[in-house]
């Protein structure tokens, strides 16, 4: 029993340096997730500002319509399909780095969800806060920056952390465009050793660890921000 365990372990990870598929895949997964998160935050922030400004003041009508279309399309289609469209349709005739394709696809996708999270945070702040800011002589932008945003950010942090966990795990479909991410790395080992157990469990374990570390970081940030409550 132990012997077969050792053999299987050797065959799946040591032989032919197969662990490299996992290690390199992990690097790609982290790279894609990191940049997709940044793009997601930037897009999400901008869209949320447009949408809530429209809701509060009625300005930016055309931008609001564009944002709404973006939200409908991105949230209405699966991320795998978006990924394939970007790779095989939008970049049809060019050789583009697949990491960039994946970052774009997941960033665009995440942006739609993040914007709704931000918007819910902005809308959750009582209108009295807004009016108080204005009556103290702040203009709209100043009220947003100094009064609304700090409170909104604290409120949406758990939801935001959740979205990034989902994003991290969603990148596991990158294999569809032959990008060798963590999941694909496991798949390649599986296709060489025909053993399902070890590669799949190893991959699952690494995702789990990453999510646990990330959750811990978000919790720490949450505690830090909450200390200003007192």
């Amino acid at each position: 029993m132990l012997q077969t365990f050792q053999d299987k372990f050797y065959q799946n990870f040591i032989e032919d340096n197969r662990w490299k598929y996992i290690a390199e895949g992990l690097g790609i997964t982290l790279e894609v997730t990191f940049f997709a998160v940044i793009i997601g935050i930037v897009i999400g922030f901008l869209v949320a500002i447009v949408r809530s400004t429209y809701d509060k003041t009625g300005k930016l009508k055309i931008l609001n319509v564009i944002c709404k279309i973006y939200l409908t399309v991105i949230r209405g289609t699966p991320v795998v399909v978006q990924l394939l469209i970007i790779y095989f349709v939008i970049f049809a005739s060019t050789d583009v780095d697949k990491v960039i394709v994946a970052i774009m696809a997941f960033g665009l996708n995440s942006g739609a969800y993040v914007s709704e999270i931000f918007r819910s945070g902005i809308m959750s702040i009582d209108n009295g806060q807004f009016e108080a800011g204005r009556s103290l002589g702040f203009n709209y932008v100043q009220t947003m920056i100094y009064i609304i945003m700090p409170q909104a950010f604290k409120n949406v942090l758990p939801a935001l952390g959740n979205e990034f966990i989902v994003l991290l795990k969603e990148t596991s479909v990158s294999g569809y465009i032959a990008l060798q991410d963590l999941t694909k790395g496991g798949d390649i080992i599986r296709s060489r050793t025909y053993d399902a157990l070890f590669p799949l469990l190893a991959v699952a374990f690494i995702y789990l660890i990453m999510v646990m570390i990330f959750t811990k970081l978000v919790n720490m940030l949450e505690r830090r921000l909450r200390s200003s409550d007192h």
Partner: protein, 258 residues
């Protein structure tokens, strides 16, 4: 506290009974698989590999599908086809989820460690697909190039050994072909017959005359399931003698080799 312990025990008992059921079921299926007297013969394949197997309407057809159907008929069984990713087929056969794997599968040493193979029923070649204006003329030119393959195929294994080549492993063969067509990669290494089908439908691509390697297709069965293997071998021999095998191949591949 007592309540907690009790509920914990209950949960454990539940889980244990569930796993017990699970393993029993597994044992049952593998038993019936061994006896080969079961009504249905489950074939695992990857139906994106014309002309060996592909979707037509809501059915999976092709050379492998027809041969497996003929074999099943010889054995007095009914064929059921499960379509899955190519790299999952051996795992499926191994775990008893499928009785046989027939997917234009080449016999390799690594695969033999995990499954048994029947006698071969077809020979095949690995070929190289490139753009019509490509400078690549043979296997030797592939060093240092971007090569597309289907994950887990023999083409994948060969491409791995090419010096400095960057191997891109697609889930589907036609996706690799699409990528070479769009200029994302330099070449595709794939089985000869599917390559002809793909190139026929795709503009601006050609198959190099110089084949990469020659290999033999066989049907995979679970390791140690000698009875099923022998039965299939016998059925294959009968089909070969009666000319049925050639008939099936001729149905899908035109004889002039075009």
């Amino acid at each position: 506290m007592k309540k907690k312990v009790l509920s914990l025990l209950l949960v454990t008992a539940c889980v244990l009974s569930m796993t017990a059921c699970g393993s029993k079921k597994e044992a049952d299926t593998s038993d019936s698989g061994d006896s080969a007297k079961k009504e249905t013969l489950i074939m695992a394949t990857n139906a994106e590999f014309p002309p060996y197997e592909f979707h037509e309407g809501d059915e999976v057809v092709g050379i492998d599908a027809d041969i497996a159907a003929a074999v099943a008929e010889e054995l007095g069984m009914e064929l059921k086809i499960e379509d899955m990713a190519f790299d999952s087929i051996i795992t499926a056969v191994n775990s008893g989820k499928a009785d046989i794997g027939a997917a234009g599968m080449t016999v390799t040493e690594d695969r033999l460690e995990n499954v048994d193979f029947t006698d071969t029923y077809a020979t095949a070649t690995q070929v190289i697909i490139v753009k019509e204006d490509s400078a690549i003329t043979g296997p030797d030119d592939l060093a240092g190039k971007k090569i597309g393959v289907q994950l887990g195929t023999t083409g994948d294994l060969y491409a791995d050994d090419i010096e400095d080549a960057e191997v891109e492993r697609y889930n589907k063969g036609f996706e690799a072909v699409q990528a070479v067509q769009q200029g994302k990669i330099d070449a595709v290494v794939i089985d000869g017959e599917p390559a002809k089908e793909f190139v026929k439908d795709a503009e601006g691509l050609k198959i190099l005359d110089e084949a990469f390697t020659e290999e033999e297709y066989a049907i995979a069965v679970k390791k140690g399931n000698d009875e099923l293997k022998e039965n299939i071998n016998k059925a294959l021999a009968t089909l070969k003698d009666s000319g049925k095998l050639d008939e099936i191949v001729a149905k899908y591949i035109s004889a002039d080799g075009e």
